[in-house]
């Protein structure tokens, strides 16, 4: 469903070129639940953001359903993004809109369905998230866990083929982490294809169908969770786990 070929991403920091992704070729199939782990600064988030074009690849390609989405010529990135949901570490709820409007804004503007249907769907998503009483509330008065559940509902209403979670629980208090992980687990059970950058090893082990270990802008180990957590091959991965 998603694939990258020789993906490279450089950032310019203080006029110095820094290579954050240094040549990743991989493929993600429908129904896979991929946990992306590894040390800070290893390019996990950048990789995820390259997949929906929030970061423009320096070279190499990203394919969605066989279509090269890095070439601006024959691809409308806005159209592609509708099918690639994203959930951010800092939630990024629209501060000027209430919870319901946050969820309905994109489908309403993009006219994916008619208005009544969108609203009904939004309310049923809020029910699923346990937030039906918060529809008219503004984001500033929600807790972190509530915000992240609204953000997930906002991504889900587009009926995405894949959801990209960028450290969805890193900005949360421990007790709120649980409520958010629970929601993600439910989605996994329903067969949603997902990639999640995370530091929650137990969650990764429990939910992921495949684990990618990033180091220095490269995937140095790519295995199923049992293998990755019980018998990692790469010495760098063994060293990383030894710190837990």
């Amino acid at each position: 469903m998603l694939a990258t070929k020789d993906l490279i991403k450089d950032f310019k920091i203080l006029n110095k070129k820094v290579r954050v992704i240094s040549g990743i070729t991989t493929q993600i199939n429908q129904g896979e639940r991929i946990a992306i782990i590894g040390p800070s600064g290893s390019g996990k988030s950048t990789f995820l953001r390259c997949l929906n074009g929030l970061e423009k690849a320096t070279s190499g390609s990203v394919f969605f359903k066989g279509k090269n989405i890095t070439s601006t010529r024959d691809c409308d990135i806005n159209e592609i993004r509708r099918h690639l949901g994203m959930v951010f570490q800092h939630f990024n709820l629209f501060a000027n809109l209430n919870v319901l409007q946050n969820i309905t804004l994109a489908p309403t503007k993009l006219k994916t369905k008619d208005k009544d249907k969108i609203k009904k769907e939004a309310i049923s998503l809020l029910k699923k998230m346990g937030l039906e009483d918060k529809a008219r509330v503004y984001p500033s008065s929600l807790s972190g866990g509530q915000k992240q559940r609204v953000a997930i509902a906002r991504a889900l209403i587009m009926n995405p083929d894949v959801i990209l979670f960028d450290e969805p629980t890193s900005a949360l208090d421990p007790e709120m982490i649980k409520e958010v992980l629970l929601v993600i687990k439910e989605l996994a059970k329903d067969g949603m294809t997902m990639l999640f950058v995370t530091h929650e090893m137990r969650f990764a082990q429990e939910v992921a169908s495949r684990v990618m270990f990033f180091d220095n802008g490269k995937i140095i180990e790519d295995a199923d969770p049992k293998e990755m957590f019980n018998a990692p091959q790469h010495p760098r991965v063994r060293e990383f786990f030894s710190k837990f």
Partner: protein, 466 residues
């Protein structure tokens, strides 16, 4: 310079335009109905009658008179002007129609009697007048203190900040009337100066007609009649100065209201232009930064902001009025003011809007994009509503400073609030009260406006401010 011939143009348009500075009674002043009256106006009327056309009068600041004449927006200047070497480079002068002299004003108890006593003394003059050049060139005199109005010099004289004031004879009479217990006029005539009418250089046919009219008026005694009429009206006025002063404020309240209306209209229209232009300019730069589009327009926007913020607004006003609009044959002062202040304020608004947008968290953009919303929808539905809240308080201070900055429009002869105060100052020869009235009105508008906005803000943002 090639020969010019205004007569043809005057006859074909059926009107002749005279330019003056209506702040010098009894030669030219604005009466209580807001009309320009005076000796120079009556003479100009005779000139128009002689040619058989309609007379148009325009009043601008004294410094701007010759600029207007040179630019061709007026045909002649009648403003109690004297001929001078510098002016003769570009202008021609008529025969004199009035001769006056400069006199010394001193405090009643002063020992100064003549010009020889002025050596080493602090002297006040009105800027650009004959008194100014006389004192500046005289051996042994200190550099004179230059005031924009003789009344201001007199108020410094009374407060002992000056030892003497040098002004022309007629003005001297006006200044001391009502203050006879404080100041006096000395006997000596310092100069002899001739008031002339000014036309563009080499406009000989027109100058010839003007000279004929002056000669005729002198011969048949009409000139004397005009002078007697205005001068006696002035002595009449001065009988009971206090009553006259009170009366004058009442009489001129219409002028203050007109000025106030102009000040408010210029500010409001300029702000509308400024907000519109500024927002567009800011959006160009944000669009370039966000997605690399509109590079050229973004550069233009940057250039615009740099140039406008880097030059004084009064210079911009001159350029718009005398250079830019006159190129298109437009001499509408109100339009010039709105255009200048609109474009000027647009540069400041652009920076206000841009920093308002930049201060929005990048995540708000990214969340919008990640849902497949195009740039336009993200800006319109997510970013701008949030930016507006950041922008509004700064926009209000921009409005307030704009309101006060418009006080320079008097320089092109537009009657705003400050100008109205100036006109009253020149009629009453009073420095303090008109300024105080004007300041209080400005303050009042600012306070009312601030109050209104804070009420509006409470209603507008009542949900989402936590």
């Amino acid at each position: 310079m090639c020969a010019v011939d205004s007569i043809e143009k005057i006859k074909s348009t059926g009107q002749v335009k005279m330019i003056t500075n209506a702040e010098f009674p009894p030669f030219e002043f604005i009466d209580d109905k807001g009309d320009i009256k005076g000796i120079d106006i009556d003479i100009s009327q005779k000139i128009a009658e002689e040619i058989g056309v309609k007379l148009n009068i325009e009043s601008v600041s004294f410094d701007a008179i010759l600029l207007e004449l040179e630019s061709g927006s007026a045909d002649f200047a009648a403003a109690a002007m004297t001929s001078s070497e510098e002016r003769s480079q570009n202008f021609s002068f008529s025969d004199p129609y009035f001769t006056t002299t400069q006199r010394i004003l001193v405090k009643k108890e002063s020992k100064i009697k003549s010009s020889s006593d002025l050596v080493g003394k602090k002297i006040g003059v009105a800027i650009g007048t004959v008194g100014d050049s006389y004192c500046s060139s005289k051996e042994g005199f200190l550099e004179p203190v230059r005031f924009s109005k003789p009344a201001d010099a007199v108020s410094d004289l009374i407060n002992s900040r000056l030892d003497a004031v040098v002004v022309d004879d007629l003005t001297a009479d006006q200044l001391i009337s009502g203050k006879l217990d404080l100041i006096k006029k000395t006997e000596e005539n310092l100069t002899q100066e001739d008031y002339v009418i000014v036309v563009r250089k080499n406009d000989e046919n027109f100058l010839h007609i003007i000279n004929e009219v002056i000669a005729k008026l002198k011969d048949n005694g009409e000139l004397q009649k005009i002078f007697d009429n205005y001068l006696s009206a002035q002595t009449e006025n001065k009988k009971d100065p206090q009553v006259v002063a009170d009366n004058i404020y009442y009489k001129y309240s219409g002028l203050i209201l007109k000025g106030l209306k102009n000040t408010i209209l210029i500010t409001v229209f300029s702000l509308i232009v400024g907000v519109f232009l500024g927002t567009i300019m800011a959006l160009f730069r944000v669009a370039y930064k966000e997605n690399g589009r509109l590079k050229f327009l973004s550069l233009i926007s940057k250039f615009y902001v740099t140039v406008i913020r880097g030059t004084p607004v009064i210079v911009q006003l001159f350029i718009v009025y005398y250079v830019f609009l006159s190129r298109f044959g437009i001499s509408d002062k109100f339009l010039s003011a709105v255009l200048t202040f609109g474009v000027n304020s647009g540069a400041y608004v652009a920076e206000i809007v841009r920093s308002g947008i930049i201060s929005i968290d990048k995540g708000q953009f990214e969340a919008g994009y990640s849902l497949g919303l195009p740039y336009k929808d993200v800006m319109l539905n997510i970013i701008m509503p949030q930016a507006t809240r950041n922008i509004l308080p700064t926009l209000i201070s921009e409005f307030i400073s704009l309101l006060k900055e418009t006080s320079v429009v008097g320089i092109i002869g537009l009657t705003d609030l400050t100008r109205a105060g100036d006109v009253i100052r020149s009629v009453t020869y009073e420095a303090f009260t008109p300024l105080l009235i004007v300041a209080i009105i400005y303050l009042f508008i600012v306070i009312i406006f601030t109050k209104m906005i804070s009420l509006l803000k409470q209603r507008l943002f009542k949900h989402d401010i936590q």
